[in-house]
Amino acid sequence: MTDTIERSDTAGNDRVLDHLVVRFAGDSGDGMQLTGDRFTSVSASFGNDLSTLPDFPAEIRAPAGTVNGVSAFQVNIADHEITTPGDEPNVLVAMNPAALKADLHRLEVGGTVIVNEDSFDARDLSKAGYVDSSDEPVNPLEDGTLNGYRVLKVPMTSLTKEVCEPLGVKPRDAERSKNFFALGLVSWMYTRPTEPTEEWIGQKFAKNEQVAAANTAAFRAGFNFGETTEAVGHRYEVRPATLPAGTYTSITGNQALSWGLVAAGQLAKLPITLGSYPITPASDILHELSKHKHFGIRTVQAEDEIAAVGVALGASFAGHLGITTTSGPGVALKSETISLAVAIELPLLIIDIQRGGPSTGLPTKTEASDLNIALYGRHGESPLPVVASKSPADCFHAAIEAARIALKYRTPVILLSDGYLANGSEPWKLPDVDSLPDISVPFATGTNHVDDDGNEEFWPYLRDPETLARPWAIPGTPGLMHRVGGLEKADGTGNIDYTPQNHERMTELREAKVAAVTADIPPTEVEGDVDADVLVLGWGSTWAAIDAAVQRRRRVGVKVAKAHIAHLSPLPPDLGDLLRRYRKVIVPELNRGQLAHLLRGTYLIDIISVSKIQGLPFKSREIEAAIDAAIESLGADSEGGAS
C-alpha cells in the first residue's frame, strides 16, 4: 500500500491506517451504489473524513455481466482531512469477472482484491471477455493475472444463500443480499462499527421483513466470515479524523446545491420557482427541490430547456427567485433567453452541472468544459457573472453566493458545478443556520423620478449608483406598471431606443454592472509556501486534487502555493497582481485550457495550462507531475538566463 501509512496499533493486534480507498464494483444490478453509500455513512458517523466517487455505467442498461454494465463506488476514508476519493484504490471488491476486468487496472500495486468467487464461472467469464483466442473462458483467479496482489476469494453468493435458507428466502432472492455479505466482510476487515448498518437495514426494509432479515443475515455472515476465517488475516483500522468540532452530515454535490437553493430562497425571503427539464447529471436537483414544497418552492418540469428558463425568467419578473437547472446541451438551448435576461436585467439563476461534450458527449462522465459557453455563449455583448463550486459541500454556499449576486445586481448568474461534484459526497460540517447571510433585496414600491412638469414617474432603468442595479418592480405594485423587452432601451426610462450613443452607453452600463460585482469578492486566499515560485490556480472541482497534490509536494519539501477562485466573471480584483507574484502559474482544468486562455488574455501572463479531458477528475498525482515539471522548467529557464 504505497501511499497508505500503516502504524502499529497500541493493542498490537489490528493495524492502523491513516487512510483507505475502497472501490466496490459489480454489475448494475448488484447494488454497489448502496453498498458504497453504506460504507461511507458508517465511516462518516465513525468520524473519518471522506470523499466519494460513484462511477455509473452509461445511461442505458448494458447486458448483465458485461464490462459496460459495471457500476462502481469508490470511497476514501481517512483519519485526517482529505479532499479526493483517492487516485488508486487500496482495496477492490469485485462482485463478478466484469468488475475485475473493468477496475483491476485502477488498483494500487500490491493492493487487495476481494472477489466473489462464485461468479467466476464459464458464463460470467465469457461475458466479461475473459476468453482465450479460441473464445474459451479463462479464469483470472487462476492464470496469474492477480500475481502481486493480495487476493481474497470468497464464495459470497453461495454463503449468502446458505445463511438465508433457514429464513425461508428463496435462493434467487437470497442472491440479491450478497452485497451485504461483501459489506459485512469489508466492515470486519476495516473495523467499521456494525450497529449503524444493522439499524439502517431494519429501517430501510421495514416494509419487507424477509428482505430485512436476509440482508442482516448476509451482513453478519460476511462480518463473521472475516472474524472466523484464517484467510482474511489482519484487521485494519482507520481512526476518526480530528475534524473541526461541529455537527456533520454526509452530502453529495447535487443535494448540497439543492439545499443551497432552498436556503437562498429563505435568506432572500422569496418564494422559489424552478423551471427545469431533466438531464443527466442535473436531474437530481429537480427531484430534490420538488420534495421541499413546504419551503414555498414551485417546480415546473417544462417541455424543454428553453421553456424551463422562460418559466424561471417569468417567475423572476413576477417577484420570485427564478431558477433553472441543466447541463451543457441545455445551456446551449437557453442561450437566447439568457441574453433576454441580460437585457431586461432581472435576477435569474442558471445552474449548469457540466458533463463531457461536445453534443450528447459523455452524459454520465464529468468535465468542466462549459466555462466558455458560460462566459461567451450569447450573441451580442451579453456579459453576466459566473460562479463555480469546488466541492460537494461547497455547492451549498456557491448556490447562495450565485443567488446573492443575481438578486443584488439584478442579473442572470451562471453557476457551474460538474458531474463529479454532483454525485460525489463528503462530510459537511453543518453551518449555523442563523449565521447565513441575509441576501434579501427590496422591491421597488414607489416612483423614482420627477418629469419636467413635476409629475412623479417610475423609471424602470434608473440604476442604483453603486451596484448599477435597476429597480425590481413586481406586478401587483400600483403605479409602477412598466414594460421590459429585448430591444435596446433608453438609459433611465427603459423605452425603446436605438440611438447610437444610448446603445453604447447601455452596453457599457451592462458591462460595468457585472464588473461591479468585484466589490463583493473577498481577497483571494493563497495557501502554501509564501516564497514559492510556482502557483497552482484552480477553479471548480479540481480543488480536491490540487489540494492533495500541493499538500503532498509540500510534505516532501517542494515549495508551491495554491489558490482557488469561485468567481470566473468578473474575476477577483486582486487576481492579476496575485498571479504576477509567481514565476510560473499552473492552471489544471478538465477542459482544453479555457480559464488559462481567459487569464492569458486578461493579464498577459504565460499561464501553463494542464488539461485533462477523459471524463474523470484529476488524480493528485497528475497535478504533482505538473508542479514538478514547472519547477524543473524554472531551473531550465534560469540556466538559459531568461526569466
Binding site: S45, G47, P240, L243, P244, A245, G246, T247, Y248, T249, S250, I251, W259, V262, Q266, P271, T273, G275, H292, K293, H294, F295, G296, R298, V300, A302, E303, I306, A307, G310, V311, A312, L313, G314, A315, S316, F317, A318, G319, H320, G322, T337, L340, I344, K429, L430, V433, L436, P475, G476, P478, G479, L480, M481, H482, R483, V484, G485, N495, I496
Partner: protein, 340 residues
C-alpha cells in the same frame, strides 16, 4: 393584491404613453382598441395585469398597455407567461402572439401551455404572414402563397390554429376577427372569465403584406353568408334569414344544410361545455377554405384542473402537512454526527 375591491378604471388608465407604431390601416389597431376598452369592464386593476408577447408586429402590443408587460423573444411568451402565472396565480396574465410567433417558432410552448391549462389568455393575431420581417409566408398561409421566401408559391399545408389547440387539449378555444369590436370584446371577456388557458384566434388583416386575406368572410357584405356564429345551447344557424345550419351526419361528419330541407330539430345544438373536444374539432374543420362558411365564437369552454392553482395547492398542502420549511431541520435530514 386582492382583486376584491378594484377601483373603477377607464380606457385611459389602460393606455400607456408610448406612441403606437403599426402601419396605418393595420388590423392590430382595432384589436388594441377593443382590449383597451374592454379592460375597465373586467373589474381588474392595471397593476395586477401582465401582458407578455414574443416578437412580431402583433407582439408590440404590450408597449401600448399601461400594465406590467414583457416584449420577450420570438415564440417564448407562453413559457414565460407560464412562469408568471405559476409564480403568481393572483395576476391576470395575457399572451399576445402572432401566427409566426405562436405557431411557427413558438408552437411547442403554445401546445404545452394549453395542455397544462395554465391560467393565461392567449390572443393569436393570425394575419397568415410574417409582418415584422416584411412578408414571408407563415404556417397559416394557404398552399401556393407567393411571398418573398416562396417566389413560386408555398407547397406546405397550413395549420388550422383551432385544430392545433384542440389537438393539444385546450380547454377554451375561440375565434374572432379584427373588424368586429363587439365580437372581439365578447370573446375576450369569455376567455378572461375562463379559469385555465384560453386560446383565441383573431383573423387580423395585414394591409401591407397580406391585404384582404379574410375579406371573403369578414367583409360586412359577406358576413351573413360566410360567418357562422356559435352560441352555446343554441342551434347552429346562419344566413340572412338563419335559413342554413349545421347537422351531424350518421357518417360521422358535419354537414351544412338548408333548415327547410331537414327541419330545425335536426340542426346541431352548440355545446361548448362537452368534455370531449371532438365536436369542437369537427366545427373547427367545417370550413374547407377561406371561401366557405366559417364558424366564429367560442368552440370549447370546459372546466378542468388549472395548472397554477394545482401547483399552489401542492405547496399549501405541503406546508400544512409539514409546517413551514425549517432550514436547520433540512440540513440535518440526512442524519448527522458530531465531532468534538
Amino acid at each position: 393584491m386582492s382583486t376584491a375591491q378594484v377601483a373603477v378604471t377607464t380606457k385611459k388608465d389602460w393606455t400607456s404613453d408610448q406612441e403606437v407604431r403599426w402601419c396605418p390601416g393595420c388590423g392590430d389597431y382595432g384589436i388594441l382598441l377593443a382590449v383597451q376598452q374592454l379592460m375597465p369592464e373586467l373589474g381588474v386593476a392595471p397593476e395586477n395585469t401582465v401582458f407578455v408577447s414574443g416578437i412580431g408586429c402583433s407582439s408590440r402590443f404590450p408597449y401600448y398597455m399601461n400594465t406590467y408587460g414583457m416584449h420577450s423573444i420570438h415564440g417564448r411568451a407562453p413559457a414565460i407567461a407560464t412562469g408568471i402565472a405559476t409564480a403568481r396565480p393572483d395576476l391576470d396574465v395575457w399572451v399576445i402572439t402572432g401566427d409566426g410567433d405562436g405557431l411557427s417558432i413558438g408552437g411547442n410552448h403554445l401546445i404545452h401551455a394549453l395542455r397544462r391549462n395554465v391560467n393565461i389568455n392567449i390572443l393569436l393575431f393570425n394575419n397568415r404572414i410574417y409582418g415584422l420581417t416584411k412578408g414571408q409566408y407563415s404556417p397559416t398561409s394557404e398552399v401556393g402563397k407567393v411571398t418573398k421566401s416562396t417566389p413560386v408559391g408555398s407547397v406546405d399545408a397550413p395549420f388550422n390554429p383551432l385544430s392545433v389547440a384542440l389537438g393539444a387539449e385546450a380547454s377554451f378555444v375561440a375565434r374572432t376577427h379584427d373588424l368586429d369590436r363587439k365580437h372581439m370584446q365578447e370573446t375576450f371577456r369569455a376567455a378572461h372569465a375562463h379559469n385555465g388557458a384560453s386560446f383565441v384566434e383573431i383573423y387580423q388583416n395585414c394591409n401591407v403584406f397580406n391585404d384582404g386575406q379574410f375579406s371573403d368572410i369578414t367583409k360586412k357584405t359577406n358576413r351573413e353568408n360566410m360567418m357562422i356564429d356559435l352560441v352555446h345551447g343554441e342551434p347552429i344557424l346562419f344566413g340572412p334569414d338563419r335559413e342554413r345550419g349545421v347537422m351531424q351526419g350518421t357518417d360521422g361528419f358535419l354537414h351544412i344544410v338548408e333548415v327547410a330541407d331537414v327541419g330545425l330539430d335536426q340542426i346541431l345544438i352548440h355545446d361548448e361545455k362537452n368534455d370531449r373536444p371532438s365536436l369542437a374539432f369537427a366545427l373547427a374543420r367545417l370550413n374547407d377554405d377561406d371561401h366557405s362558411p366559417t364558424p366564429f365564437g367560442v368552440f370549447r369552454n370546459i372546466q378542468r384542473s388549472e395548472y397554477a392553482q394545482a401547483v399552489s395547492d401542492q405547496v399549501v398542502a405541503a406546508s400544512e402537512r409539514r409546517g413551514p420549511g425549517d432550514l436547520g431541520e433540512l440540513l440535518a435530514s440526512n442524519g448527522t454526527w458530531t465531532v468534538g
